[in-house]
């Protein structure tokens, strides 16, 4: 039997890899999809965490190293993985998240799905910092439209120029704490609109279920009423016979021929620790921004001494993550609440998009606000500092006995929180590169991070703190904790902490300053593509998933077209 040569080898099964698999298989290509983690299906009773009660776990939903967001979170992966270290240069404290499961981190993300706006592709034109994308909103908007309809997203058309309208399903009604926030935001003259999330509030086809409002998207949905790459894109593709799925397979490098063209990949089968090769006409890397950069840098050959696609020395550079800061308040108006089920959809029903595009500030890029609160299901941590809010009521904190039950009831759901997510400025010097001395358990050289926030991000975090205090107070809240000052970078999160890392293989028209063209095709090797957030020139203050999906679809169309024209 002749050796199988795939039309496309796709590395990584998250948003980008899932979309490429779906589109290329639909176009009739023979696809190999390689995932470093295991098969995952939230409907499988052996893997299900959705709708479990806290007492079904001995630690009641507390976090573990393998599930940093709690042991019912569907994540398999995290910032620290056994056998897969990474290192830091200088005083860098980059936090590198890696998903290790079919569907990657789309199984447990917040489902916040925001289109980039026209300004987000041309930020250099506005503030002179970073670079413009080689494409504009008009190039990607047809793909956003198609993603909206294929996958499903709720939201509302607001006519906001830089937060574009879409093909939305109707939004869920706000919960009580969100009504308090809406009133507060209006008082503070800050816009507030329905959230935009890839959760089905309405049927979009007969294959997927409709949201039943358990509020547990982070546990992955057994009826596929929210978007994850595995349930929405990959499972349907596996039925057509066009896709071979290889799980527990860790790609070491892309292999090339004497001309420097890719011929496939070399990977480690984690079940037996042995190395194998897979042959393909094209290789599509969608392993996540940093993992893709790592594979390219590890793909050294006579033709590619600096790593594959790295003639520009730009692979790994311009790494950037969203900024973040958060605060919470006690809302006395929400004491002694009536108890009813307000689980709603997973996470927020309302949010505030960036509103100061025209303002003259000491930083140049925006942020949006995500709203939290409500009568959530008790899990580990519930009841900690049970009556700390007594200090605001003139009552004594602490104690013991049955009066603690009254305290629990009095303060249940009396909390409002805000998390800000902002855009940082990409830097040539913020990067990941190969550590020359450290390898992982399969002998593959690991990444070393070198990353520093600039004054722009720090000033932005200070502005976030002022905004959050204003909004929480305007909503009737008593802000908790002390406002972090300059000594703490105003509460700015660590780079990598928000898990929106992008930019390591950025697209551009000039092969000297970018890694791929506008279709994610390596400048240096025309049959290798990047379909993850590595190609982002800048990340906007928008969560990256919807843009990864749109770009991966656009890349897939280009690949099919180029194959038809026999250019690939």
């Amino acid at each position: 039997m002749a050796e199988q040569i795939y039309d496309a080898i796709i590395v990584g099964s998250g948003a980008g890899g899932g979309m490429a698999t779906h589109q290329l298989a639909n176009a009739g290509l023979k696809v190999a999809l390689i995932e470093a983690g295991d098969f995952y299906d939230p409907a499988d009773e052996e893997q299900r965490t959705q709708l479990r009660y806290p007492w079904e776990s001995p630690r009641r939903g507390a976090s573990t190293r393998l599930r940093p967001f709690g042991d019912y979170n569907s994540c398999i992966g995290g910032w620290e993985l056994d056998g897969e270290p990474y290192t830091q240069k200088g005083d860098t404290e980059f936090m590198w998240w890696r998903g290790r499961m079919l569907g990657g981190r789309t199984n447990h993300w917040g489902r916040i799905s925001l289109r980039f706006g026209p300004l987000d592709f041309k930020r250099k034109d506005i503030d002179g910092l970073g670079d413009n994308w080689p494409i504009g909103y008009q190039d990607i908007s047809p793909y956003y439209d198609k993603v909206d309809k294929l996958i499903g997203i709720f939201g509302s058309n607001e006519g906001l120029y830089n937060d574009p309208d879409g093909y939305f399903l109707p939004a869920p009604k706000p919960r009580l704490h969100e009504l308090y926030y809406i009133d507060g935001a209006r008082k503070a003259n800050i816009p507030v609109i329905p959230a935009r999330k890839s959760i089905l509030t309405k049927r979009i086809n007969n294959d997927r279920g409709i949201c039943f409002y358990c509020g547990q998207c982070s546990r992955a949905c057994g009826i596929h009423a929210d978007f994850s790459s595995s349930t929405v894109l990959i499972y349907p593709s596996l039925n057509g016979g066009q896709v071979d799925l290889l799980t527990n397979s860790m790609v070491r490098e892309v292999i090339t021929d004497e001309e420097g063209m890719a011929t496939g990949v070399r990977y480690v089968n984690k079940r037996n620790q042995r190395e194998y090769e897979l042959k393909g006409r094209t290789v599509i890397l969608a392993a996540s921004a940093c993992s893709t950069a790592r594979i390219l840098l590890n793909s050294k050959s006579g033709q590619h001494e600096n790593g594959l696609g790295n003639n520009s020395d730009n692979v790994g550079r311009y790494l950037h993550d969203s900024t973040g800061a958060s605060r919470a308040a006690f809302l006395p108006d929400l004491m002694d609440r009536d108890i009813y089920n307000e689980d709603g959809v997973g996470g927020m029903h309302v949010y505030s998009p960036w509103w100061l595009e025209e303002a003259n500030l000491d930083f140049t890029r925006g942020y949006h606000l995500e709203i939290g609160g409500g009568m959530g299901m008790p899990s580990y941590g519930f009841g900690f500092a049970v009556n700390q809010y007594n200090q605001y009521l003139g009552d004594r904190v602490g104690g013991y006995g049955n009066q603690l039950r009254d305290d629990i009831r009095k303060f249940y759901g009396a909390r409002l929180s805000i998390a800000c997510r902002g855009e940082s400025i990409p830097q040539y010097t913020n990067r990941c590169e190969l550590d020359p001395t450290v390898v992982d358990e399969w002998g593959i050289p690991v990444l070393r991070f070198d990353y520093k926030w600039t004054q722009h991000e720090i000033n932005q975090a200070r502005h976030m703190q002022d905004t959050m205090e204003e909004l929480l107070e305007a909503s009737g809240g008593i802000v908790l904790g002390n406002k972090p000052g300059a000594d703490q970078n105003y509460g700015l999160t660590q780079p990598g902490e928000i898990i929106h890392e992008v930019g390591t293989t950025r697209m551009g028209t000039d092969p000297r300053t970018s890694v791929t063209n506008e279709f994610g095709q390596l400048h240096d090797v025309k049959n290798v593509f990047v379909a993850d957030a590595g190609t982002f020139v800048s990340q906007a203050d928008k969560n990256p998933t919807w843009t990864i999906l749109a770009l991966a679809w656009r890349t897939s169309d280009y690949i099919v077209d180029q194959m038809k024209q026999r250019n690939l």
Binding site: R59, D165, L176, L179, R203, N341, G398, L404
Partner: protein, 239 residues
């Protein structure tokens, strides 16, 4: 959880011949021994674990960390923090000593604070009353708790005890409210499929809130949720 299926029972006061307090008065006689009893929690769980996670849980259950005296002290403290004399039960009905034991093994950072906290409590009890904490009278125990249950107590010599008591209060409440008893106590209504259609009218009225018409026009009419979505070319939903 069939909380009353099995009960764990340990001696609150010592068996004859067991020295539990070296206060210079010698061994305390066994005639005042009584038992403290709590509902056992399961040691096997099925909640969507990977093989590696199953091994981690098995390893934790197999580990013995606390001595019997420590476990009894934990039980006594949990019982003080959330007593059983309530229609929805208390800490011992909810199997708190088993939960605390598991969490302390699961979280290395709790090990020393709990062990050291129990030792502090015994030392303070012996200094003030003679026997250690589980062997003094109930009113003596409560008098110690009254000193260490309130973080506003500034007495420097009590700060270690106050920290320990706060940790035990946190673990007790979180352990109770994450059981069926706690859910009943809270009247928790969620974690079940439903159709969210906004805050109940009476609640809105009580809070002086309302949904404005413009916002509602963007929200799902739940009677249409099962109709497949279609849009016109201008992004307007038409179904």
């Amino acid at each position: 959880m069939n909380r009353r299926e099995t009960l764990k029972s340990l001696f609150l006061a010592p068996l004859a011949g067991t020295v539990i307090a070296s206060n210079g008065c010698g061994t305390i006689a066994s005639n005042n021994a009584s038992r403290i009893t709590w509902a056992r929690l399961p040691t096997e769980y099925s909640y969507g674990r990977t093989d590696a996670e199953k091994l981690t849980d098995q390893r934790l259950f197999a580990e013995t960390y606390f001595r019997e005296h420590e476990l009894v002290t934990i039980a006594v403290l949990c019982d003080i923090i959330l007593p059983n004399n309530h229609p929805n039960g208390g800490a011992l009905d909810a199997g708190l000593p088993d939960f605390v034991e598991f969490m302390v093994k699961d979280r290395e950072q709790y090990k020393l604070p709990v062990r050291g906290g129990i030792a502090w409590l015994d030392s303070y009890s012996i200094e003030n009353f003679g026997p250690d904490f589980i062997n003094i009278s109930e009113s003596q125990r409560l008098s110690i708790c009254n000193e260490i249950a309130y973080p506003d107590n500034q007495a420097p010599e009590l700060q270690a005890g106050i920290s320990f008591f706060s940790l035990m209060r946190n673990l007790t409440l979180t352990g109770y409210y994450t059981t069926e008893l706690g859910f009943r106590d809270l009247d928790y209504m969620g974690n079940t499929p439903n159709v969210w259609d906004g805050v109940p009218e009476a609640v809105l009225r009580r809070h002086g809130k309302s949904y404005d018409a413009d916002w509602l026009s963007k929200c799902i009419d739940q009677s249409t949720r099962d109709i497949v979505a279609e849009w016109d070319d201008d992004m307007n939903l038409v179904t």
